[in-house]
């Protein structure tokens, strides 16, 4: 049993890392989104409906949920990215609340084996039985989560090495200068929003099938705020930054018993301290650059 508990923590870190990465992608592009939980939630519901009610295989449900999330993110992006800064942040939060409140109203149940199954408003959506029906063990499912996480990381590293990634960072550093380099910011910000929506979506569908029960309340603002905080703690200089943030929060703060009751206090204090002393996180651009140049020297020697 303790083994299973450990695996649950580890798989939780993997799934939450995906929403943290999605917030990170927007952060490096200079946009603070308080609403990535919306895409996580949309995909959690859509993916779970696809496997549980329509009998789709998980991989297809993952693609479906994440694409739907990406579509929604692109739509919200087009509407809001022309406004920037605080207004953008508030708009993303408003949209996410809209999604959450709509999920309270979402009832779509089908009788399966004499039982009504499907999302039922505030009651939530249980019996997401794909794992049991397919005899997937906790270990196997954890491996699946990490396989997908690795794919996403690989993809993000590719982006960071590409022109697109450079433009994302340019937008984050100086949007006006980016325009004065002949680049249309809206186009790239929408691209970032769509990619971020898709990545959050992957986390959502995986989450629904891991916990086998979801309810609208899970996808509230605190999830989005945490997703943001992870990148800000771990650092915005590398894709590993948000993962380190998640590991610190879920791996350390949640697991250490003494902290239990004070977890939110400790976490909030940590975020505040970070914002004051390391505003772009532990592994920010400068430290990553420094580490890379040390590594390069090592390789040459």
């Amino acid at each position: 049993m303790p083994n299973d508990y450990l695996l649950t923590v580890i798989s939780n870190i993997g799934m939450i890392s995906l929403i943290a990465l999605s917030a990170y992608l927007l952060l490096i592009s200079g946009e603070i989104s308080f609403g990535q939980q919306a895409y996580f939630g949309i995909s959690a519901y859509a993916g779970a409906i696809a496997t549980t009610l329509w009998g789709w295989p998980l991989w297809l449900a993952l693609l479906f949920g994440s694409s739907l999330a990406a579509l929604a993110a692109g739509f919200v992006g087009l509407l809001t990215l022309r406004i920037s800064g605080l207004y953008f942040s508030i708009a993303t939060l408003a949209f996410a609340e809209m999604v959450r409140l709509s999920l309270f109203k979402l009832t779509y149940q089908i009788e399966i084996d004499g039982e009504l199954i499907g999302p039922n408003g505030a009651e939530g959506f249980g019996e997401i039985r794909w794992i049991f029906d397919n005899d997937v063990s906790v270990l196997e499912y954890t491996l699946l989560i990490y396989g997908i996480l690795l794919l996403v990381l690989f993809f993000l590293v590719l982006i960071e090495r590409s022109r697109l990634g450079m433009i994302f960072r340019m937008l984050g550093q100086d949007p006006l200068l980016t325009r004065v380099q002949g680049l249309n910011p809206v186009r790239y910000k929408v691209t970032a929003a769509i990619l971020a929506g898709f990545i959050a979506g992957l986390g959502g569908t995986l989450y629904a099938h891991s916990f086998t029960y979801i309810e609208p309340q899970i996808f509230n603002m605190m999830l989005g705020v945490h997703a943001l905080a992870y990148g800000l703690i771990g650092g915005l200089g590398t894709v590993l930054g948000p993962l380190i943030g998640v590991a610190i929060d879920i791996g350390f703060l949640e697991s250490v018993r003494v902290i239990q009751g004070y977890r939110m206090v400790v976490f909030g204090g940590l975020v505040a301290l970070m914002l004051i002393f390391m505003p772009r996180g532990i592994f920010d651009e400068k430290r990553v650059y420094w580490l890379k140049s040390i590594a390069r020297r090592w390789f040459r020697a």
């Binding site: 450079m166 380099q181 002949g182 249309n184 400068k286």
Partner: protein
């Protein structure tokens, strides 16, 4: 090549630029001088499209710029530097130049083959030449934010030039420079003109402006109070009163 026609810009009650007319011929270096707050930077911002004009028109190579966004103006051939240096601090020197060069022409294919296979092509060589031009040849892999002030200024000039503009707007490029650095800057600006760029030079350093420009326009409180060849401007009474007199007296 550039025609500014009764251009005005108000910020609330402040009339930063008032009915300004300015004509620039291809290949010229035009100086724009004037006391602080006389509207010089605002003029650069209007031409580069940072904000829209309140009234008037800017015609660049026969085309009105007013409908064009800042990025479209860069594509049309207008580049600029900023009075307060603006670089991408988190990108390396080389990357700063590469993204700028990229806006002149799609260099993605070469970028990919360079990053992944270390194969250098014409763009890579061009950027190396630009580093040479800026005296930054050994700093290519340095983060822009790690450069010294003078080096950042040089990089900013190279970055603007890398977009291959036909019109280059320089907003006080000599600010904070010592004598030797100003001489270097003088040489670089002349080199850029030789490459075919038309240049509008906003500057306080009179030695530089008087020596290098073909014509000078003088602004005061947003209006043009004089225009002419450097020697004539130096003699001009109202200019001396508005501007040159200020610093000569103390």
């Amino acid at each position: 090549m550039l025609e500014v026609k009764s251009l005005s810009k108000n910020f609330g009650g402040v009339k930063a630029v008032r009915e300004l007319d300015l004509a620039v011929n291809a290949g010229d270096i035009i100086g724009v001088i004037g006391p602080n707050g006389s509207g010089k930077s605002t003029l650069v911002n209007l031409i580069s499209g940072v904000f829209p004009a309140t009234a008037g028109e800017i015609i660049f190579q026969g085309q009105s710029l007013s409908k064009l966004s800042p990025h479209a103006r860069v594509k049309a051939g207008v580049a600029r530097t900023f009075q307060n240096i603006r670089l991408f601090p988190g990108l390396t020197v080389w990357q700063n130049l590469w993204v700028a060069r990229n806006s002149a022409e799609d260099t993605r294919a070469e970028g990919i083959s360079y990053r992944w296979f270390r194969k250098s092509g014409p763009v890579k060589n061009e950027i190396d030449a630009m580093l040479e031009f800026s005296g930054l040849a050994d700093k290519g892999d340095e983060l822009a934010s790690n450069l010294a002030f003078g080096e950042q200024r040089r990089l900013e000039l190279a970055r603007a030039a890398a977009t291959k503009p036909s019109l280059l707007l320089l907003d006080e490029p000599a600010a904070g420079m010592n004598h030797d650095e100003i001489r270097d800057l003088d040489r670089r600006i002349r080199q850029l003109r030789q490459q075919g760029m038309t240049i509008i030079l906003i500057e306080h350093v009179m030695d530089l402006v008087m020596g290098i420009t073909d014509r000078i326009a003088v602004l005061n409180f947003g209006s043009k109070i004089a225009e002419g060849e450097p020697a004539a401007i130096q003699e001009n009474k109202s200019v001396q009163e508005a501007y040159l007199g200020q610093s000569d007296d103390d």
